[in-house]
């Protein structure tokens, strides 16, 4: 039922460089499996899942080689051929960049995230303007976050007293003087090659409005971690993609903006954010509307005529919800955020109404299929997760955005007083 045999946590995490000889993978007695992130010359190119139930406690090289090749070939081939076509260009210079971490009352997570950012910045020192690291402390209960930020060399600190993730994001827009503004979640850790990948992406697409990348798990220690990641996680693969105002064969495009990226890691042209008036502060307001701001901005960037580029090297590792209750809330938030954005833009962007309608129909059909599968005991989702997403979506369609706008107006008024 629901792939229970594959959900025995923990799973070990491995990075495998495919240009090096493989080694067999041996599972420790307590491990249920392994998650292999495949790299080709350090660039992420694929994932292989190994489970005790399917592969036993050891996976020898001959089996592993076939799995690795199947998973890595497409992206690796694309990368190698691309480099050859471009004549193996020299590394790109660091673009003028602020990386903002918007955080609230999670100092331990922030410390970890900042450590990775600082390390990455140091590695690129001298290859362009120094990266500006900015912590936006959103409506904190104490000064723990401030202390950490100020204790970290080369990190700026901004306080945003009005609660709301998108309020904090807008504070970052106001606080930067760089052409590019990246947002990295406080529970995410950037890949060491993240800045290299961004530099390359900006050089290739200097007129893009935004860049996004893959999100990998930071741990797979619990059933909730596994269920989320096995069901696809935030995954959008390891192939470069370029999204414009239209998309071949996609009658929903650009509705359904969750396909373009994830807020755990996103980079924007600062000018684009300012032209669009910043993030919608009625989204990501915490319960009862804890999401939607990222995908709303992706949608607006595309509708404004700018492009979004999905760059596989812009990888971050994310700390997923550790328990099933948290995962249910996550799914609820997804359904809610997706349908709130549909509802919002059907009202504010009526020309795209038919596309949003198709998106809503597609989403409904997708949830229904998953629910039927779950009720039959198939797939990685137990019914309660799918029902949570369905309920969230219905709530989103039933006026959650309007209520949130009124709530934010009241909140702004309260903090202005």
């Amino acid at each position: 039922m629901w792939q229970r045999e594959l959900m025995h946590a923990p799973y070990a995490l491995h990075d495998v460089e495919v240009t090096a000889p493989l080694r067999p993978i041996h599972l420790a007695p307590h491990e249920g499996g392994a998650h292999l992130l495949l790299r080709h010359r350090q660039r992420p190119v694929g994932v292989v899942w190994l489970s005790r139930a399917e592969h036993g406690d050891a996976v020898e090289v001959d089996v592993l080689a076939g799995l690795v090749e199947s998973a890595a070939l497409e992206a690796t081939a694309a990368t190698a051929v691309r480099d050859a076509l471009l004549g193996h260009p020299a590394p790109a210079p660091t673009p003028p960049l602020t990386i903002a971490v918007c955080t609230r009352n999670r100092p331990a997570l922030l410390r970890r995230s900042l450590a990775a950012l600082v390390s990455m910045r140091e590695r690129r020192r001298g290859q362009g303007p120094e990266v500006d690291l900015l912590v936006v402390d959103n409506a904190p209960d104490d000064r723990a976050t401030e202390r950490i930020a100020r204790a970290t060399q080369g990190v700026r600190y901004e306080l945003e007293p009005v609660p709301g993730l998108d309020v904090a994001r807008n504070r970052a827009i106001a606080a930067t003087d760089r052409s590019w503004l990246a947002y990295v979640d406080d529970d995410a850790v950037v890949d060491p090659g993240w800045l290299d990948a961004l530099a390359d992406a900006v050089r290739a697409s200097p007129d893009a409005g935004a860049f996004t990348g893959p999100i990998m798990p930071l741990q797979l220690d619990t059933e909730a971690h596994l269920r989320f990641e096995r069901a696809g996680g935030f995954g959008k693969g390891f192939q470069w993609q370029r999204f414009g105002p239209e998309r071949w064969g996609d009658a929903k495009h650009p509705a359904g903006p969750g396909r373009f990226g994830t807020g755990a890691c996103m980079v924007f042209a600062t000018a684009a954010l300012r032209e669009l008036g910043g993030f919608d502060e009625a989204l990501d307001t915490g319960p009862p509307l804890p999401g939607g701001g990222d995908i709303d901005m992706f949608y607006r960037v595309l509708r404004a005529g700018r492009r979004i580029v999905y760059a596989p090297g812009l990888l971050v590792r994310h700390q997923h919800r550790p328990d099933m209750a948290g995962l249910r809330r996550q799914y609820h938030s997804w359904g809610l955020g997706n349908m709130v954005v549909v509802r919002k833009h059907m009202r504010t962007d009526p020309a795209s109404g038919p596309r949003h309608l198709r998106q809503a129909r597609w989403w409904s059909w997708s949830v229904l299929q998953r629910l039927l599968l779950a009720m039959a005991g198939r797939g990685p989702h137990p019914p309660d997760l799918v029902l949570a997403e369905l309920l969230g979506g219905l709530t989103g369609l039933a006026g959650a955005y309007g209520r949130s706008r009124r709530r934010m107006a009241g909140r702004r008024h309260e903090y202005a007083a």
């Binding site: 495919v18 690795v68 081939a77 990368t79 691309r82 076509l85 471009l86 370029r242």
Partner: protein, 428 residues
């Protein structure tokens, strides 16, 4: 939901292309991506997708051609010692920084394969002298190479006869009996070459097309070689559907082999089943003349091109797909014509399936197997039809395909049918 026709077809050789990609696209465009003239992949672009920077275009191209390029290089390097080392990955190993140089070498080797068999090129004509003239003009290099060219005319007339006579070395055979199959049959009987290469009067082969087909007969076991079929135009939705819904010409750019194994004509690389539609339904093929005569393929009466492939496989010969042989074929322009083609292909598949039944199997058992078999993908299409309809992309060929399938089942299960040499089939 595909963009509506008309589409533009744009050829880009990435080996010669440098810099930004800034074509003036006015319509949805199928971009054929070549490397030194060899088609390796394709991209579909809307006018709003351009311009692209040099790096963006290279990234797009690499995503489209990368796996094929690797496959071609790997196929040429299987002798490498790393194959014996399970810790290495055969295809990943070829992805060194000089992968394009390796690709160059692999393609040059493929092109240099010797041609050892004599060939007769059969042009099936249908009373279209202007088309015939253009087709014969593309075959002048073949004539200069000493190959026999025979025009087999299903609608013989003075104009077509005159066109054929105007090109030195071209023979003309009138074959007024109805049906393209019988026309081809007449040409096979008239031919003198060891291999018969088929094309229609409206087909436009690319340079080197015939050599690439003929080079595929690199062993006595190869009975038939087919090549890549590209659309001559995508001016109508029916032509687009012929390519993307019927799958004509979408077999890709990596050579394939099919044999008549119990797995169902599996080439060992997972390509099985409906060989004919997989490789273009006979629009670009060459067959050994002795195989064709021995199997009575010169007297096919039904199933057409679909049967040819399965007859060859059932006789124990190999079928090769050789994408270096490229021919541009005008798909049928209108929906009635496309539906007729879909019906014919579906019926031919049933006939071919029945041909693959174990010898001596009782007819009733065969009927039950065929009627109850209902190919998985027909059932899948039926189930999904309402979904596609709701999405505004109806499966416009489903009914025709089902009709063809039903016609094939009726024909094979309930009636006398003829074996390839015209004798009633005897059940064992």
């Amino acid at each position: 939901m595909r963009p509506p026709a008309p589409w533009t077809i744009l050829d880009v050789d990435v080996a010669d292309h440098a810099g930004a990609f800034e074509p003036a696209l006015e319509r949805p465009t199928l971009v054929l991506l070549r490397f030194r003239g060899v088609l390796l992949g394709e991209a579909q672009l809307l006018p709003s997708d351009v311009p692209m920077t040099a790096a963006e275009f290279a990234t797009l191209v690499a995503a489209r051609i990368g796996p094929t390029a690797v496959g071609l290089v790997a196929a040429e390097t299987t002798e490498r010692a790393v194959v014996d080392d399970p810790a290495r990955h055969r295809r990943l190993d070829v992805l060194t920084p000089d992968v394009l140089t390796q690709l160059d070498t692999a393609l040059a080797r493929s092109r240099a394969r010797p041609v050892t068999l004599s060939a007769s090129i059969l042009v099936t004509a249908r009373g279209r002298p202007a088309e015939l003239q253009t087709c014969l003009d593309t075959l002048l290099p073949e004539l200069r190479a000493g190959r026999e060219v025979i025009v087999v005319d299903n609608r013989p007339g003075a104009a077509s006869r005159a066109v054929a006579a105007s090109v030195a070395g071209v023979r003309y055979v009138a074959a007024p009996a109805a049906g393209a199959d019988r026309t081809v049959g007449a040409g096979i009987r008239a031919a003198g070459g060891e291999v018969v290469v088929l094309l229609g009067d409206d087909d436009r082969p690319e340079p080197g097309w015939a050599d690439a087909l003929l080079a595929g007969f690199d062993s006595a076991g190869v009975g038939l070689v087919c090549g890549l079929v590209l659309p001559a135009a995508l001016e109508t939705d029916a032509q687009v559907a012929a390519r993307y819904d019927l799958g004509l010409g979408l077999t890709g750019s990596v050579p394939l082999r099919f044999d008549g194994s119990a797995a169902g004509h599996d080439d060992g690389h997972g390509h099985s089943g409906w060989v004919a539609t997989a490789v273009g339904a006979g629009a670009n093929l060459a067959i050994r003349r002795d195989v064709a005569l021995r199997l009575g393929l010169d007297r096919l009466t039904s199933g057409g091109e679909v049967e040819v492939f399965d007859h060859v496989l059932a006789a124990g010969a190999q079928v090769r797909y050789e994408p270096l042989s490229v021919l541009h074929h005008p798909h049928v322009r209108d929906w009635p014509g496309l539906r007729t083609l879909a019906r014919r292909l579906a019926r031919g598949q049933v006939i071919a399936t029945e041909r693959r039944s174990p010898p001596g199997q009782h007819r009733r058992e065969t009927f039950v197997r065929l009627a109850g078999l209902l190919p998985g993908w027909y059932g899948h299409r039926i189930v999904r039809a309402p979904v596609f309809l709701a999405r505004g992309v109806p499966d416009r060929l489903l009914t025709s395909s089902l009709r063809g399938y039903a016609a094939g089942v009726r024909q094979q299960a309930g009636r006398q049918h003829h074996d390839p040499v015209g004798q009633p089939r005897r059940d064992g």
